[in-house]
């Protein structure tokens, strides 16, 4: 077959795949929406005090409640409001500048880290980025690889590989579902719990349910809080509103992770989340703040240090050398016996 025809066929296949994914996403969206909507009604009575940053983020995602199949085909666009990584930077002239920096970083990271822990950005639902040779990657992909590399360096990933006791990973916020997808793909045998404001849950639940169509999923029901954590480690994904953080009592939480959500919260909410992780007996906590030295990081750090010892691998020089962290902070801690 001539190259031009083959290219045309490939394009058609990709298009067809995208249409299929959008259609599947819409079904997942409808289910997630039906499950999450009651959380908003309940949440209103116990509405946490949101900061301006949180309100702005939720306002950007708010129109997801009224989504149709076409708009879900580009679900990934919501990621820019969460991590700041936007598709427009990967197109046209800007793409050349981005490529120069990201290609170099990717190669250096792979040199220091384990290439087996690399995962491309999924192309469906509006995935974007530079070509890595095997697929797409962008700044979010590099950030996720850094996180997993840090966990690997700290000898934590072995716990996710052994099947003796299925661990629970709790992500505060969940973002657009990108890190959950990354970790769950690498380590299928773990339960991934996400707590967030309902609007944000709708985003991550739709994304994850579309990418893991076979996964077992559980949603928090305000009328039966106790049932949520019953045999929780038998499900793949669990979603609960952050107003219910103190009502849920998951066992075997091996790791609590935050990718840029704590930094948006006020001090009281940050402390409440960290304290809850501590009370649940979670041994490790990792928080990624996008802006190092900002007011946000200076609020997150002491809250973590009250309940967790900062891990030796979280030293600035180590992070700079191994993970090429030029901005942002990786606050990684192991649980104190006394908080």
């Amino acid at each position: 077959m001539p190259a031009s025809r083959r290219f045309g066929t490939d394009c058609l296949n990709v298009k067809a795949e995208q249409v299929r994914a959008a259609s599947a996403a819409y079904e997942c969206y409808q289910r997630a929406r039906a499950e999450i909507l009651p959380m908003t009604a309940e949440g209103r009575s116990r509405e946490p005090e949101l900061t301006a940053a949180e309100r702005a983020l939720l306002a950007d995602v708010e129109d997801l409640w009224r989504a149709d199949a076409d708009s879900l085909a580009d679900l990934r666009r919501y990621g820019k409001t969460i991590s700041g990584v936007r598709r427009s930077n990967y197109k046209g002239e800007r793409a050349d500048q981005v490529r120069l920096r990201l290609d170099r970083d990717r190669l250096k990271l792979l040199e220091h880290g384990d290439p087996a822990l690399w995962l491309d950005e999924p192309a469906v639902l509006g995935g974007f980025g530079l070509q890595s040779g095997t697929g797409l990657f962008n700044e979010d992909t590099l950030r996720f690889f850094r996180i997993v590399t840090l966990l690997n360096d700290a000898a934590l990933l072995r716990e996710f590989r052994s099947s003796a006791k299925r661990p629970v990973v709790w992500e505060i916020g969940g973002g657009w579902g990108g890190f959950a997808h990354y970790l769950k793909t690498l380590f299928p045998d773990l339960t991934y719990l996400i707590t967030a404001p309902p609007t944000l849950l709708l985003l991550s639940a739709t994304y994850l349910m579309t990418l893991f169509p076979e996964a077992s999923v559980r949603f928090f029901h305000p009328s039966d809080a106790a049932a949520f954590c019953c045999d929780l480690n038998e499900v793949d994904f669990a979603f609960a509103p952050d107003s219910a953080v103190h009502d849920i009592d998951p066992r075997d939480v091996a790791l609590t992770i935050d990718v840029g959500m704590l930094q948006r919260m006020n001090a009281a909410r940050i402390s409440a989340h960290v304290q809850r992780a501590f009370e649940l007996g979670c041994r490790y906590m990792l928080s990624v703040c996008f802006d190092e030295g900002s007011d946000a990081e200076s609020t997150v750090r002491p809250a973590i240090e009250r309940c967790y010892w900062l891990h030796p691998m979280a030293s600035r020089a180590y992070l700079d050398r191994h993970l090429l962290v030029r901005n942002g902070a990786f606050l990684f801690g192991w649980k104190r016996l006394r908080a």
Partner: protein, 300 residues
């Protein structure tokens, strides 16, 4: 308190912590030990610079964790004396314990450190020391130690001691988990310089050394090795003249005395073999030193 409830009266492992005026780092070190996934251990803290801060920290943990105990030395013993003291306490209190490890008052251990090393010693009877890879840390930096030393599969004691004399990483290995009876037979910390090397050389005659590649220990590095300083802290009552001899000569003399004269290696090996091992150690230690001496001369 869940951890405390699981401690047995006759623990399989004893951890000996020779403390010396580090109340700043002690809580973190104690918590990382008490957070181990393997809990059948006792922890003895011997304080060589009795310090109200250290005593109150240890005792506050001892109230909640019954495996922790504190002893204060009535007179300063120095580093060698305190390392000996903590081992002797361990043997006196828990004579049935199988494994022993020295731990410091300033390092941090991964939660699976002890579980992993116990598993090695449980499954590999020829191994006498198991130690893990480490991350070296300072206040604002951390880097991986890439060197490793391992003698698994080497049956001949003379080969093991020759390799140990040339390549061992005594500063890392001395914090490994050891078989307590083998350590007792090897002799605990003679009053020589670099006594950790001497113990490990002797111990290599009783079995293999196993390196675990996973980083399970975070080792605080305060300063570079300094022989002058070592003499000062090892001999608080004054440095004896023999301590100015080259360390490998001191080690050879102590190996010769223990195994060639006193026959402490029996029944594993006799006096003649013991004397020959001391000579092997001396030969290979000199061989190790020669390139350094040449480099030093060239620089001069």
């Amino acid at each position: 308190m869940e951890a405390a409830a699981r401690v047995s009266a006759a623990p399989r492992v004893v951890l000996g912590l020779p403390a010396f005026a580090r109340p700043d780092s002690l809580p973190r070190a104690l918590e990382s030990l008490l957070s181990q996934t393997y809990q059948d251990f006792a922890l003895i803290v011997a304080d060589d610079a009795p310090h109200a801060g250290v005593a109150s920290i240890v005792n506050s943990y001892a109230r909640d964790y019954t495996q922790v105990s504190y002893v204060a030395n009535p007179k300063r013993l120095g580093m060698v004396g305190n390392w000996r003291r903590v081992f002797e306490e361990a043997r006196a209190r828990y004579p049935q314990s199988e494994y022993f490890a020295w731990v410091s008052d300033h390092d941090v251990w991964h939660a699976r450190w002890l579980e992993t090393l116990v598993s090695v010693l449980d499954h590999e009877p020829e191994v006498v020391i198991a130690y893990s890879a480490s991350l070296r840390t300072t206040a604002d930096d951390a880097w991986l130690e890439k060197k490793r030393f391992d003698t698994t599969g080497i049956d001949r004691a003379s080969t093991r001691i020759a390799l140990a004399a040339q390549n061992m990483l005594s500063g890392d290995m001395i914090y490994g988990l050891m078989r307590a009876p083998a350590l007792e037979a090897a002799g605990i910390f003679h009053h020589v310089v670099t006594p950790d090397r001497q113990v490990l050389l002797a111990l290599s005659l009783f079995g293999e050394v196993r390196h675990v590649p996973e980083v399970l220990w975070y080792r605080e590095m305060v300063r570079d090795f300094d022989l002058q300083r070592q003499r000062k802290v090892f001999f608080p009552d004054g440095t004896p003249l023999y301590a100015y001899l080259p360390s490998h000569v001191q080690h050879c003399a102590s190996l010769l005395w223990d195994f060639g004269v006193r026959g402490k290696g029996r029944p594993r090996f006799g006096r003649v073999a013991g004397a020959s091992y001391a000579a092997v150690q001396l030969w290979f230690s000199i061989a190790r030193q020669l390139p350094r001496l040449r480099r030093g001369t060239a620089r001069a």
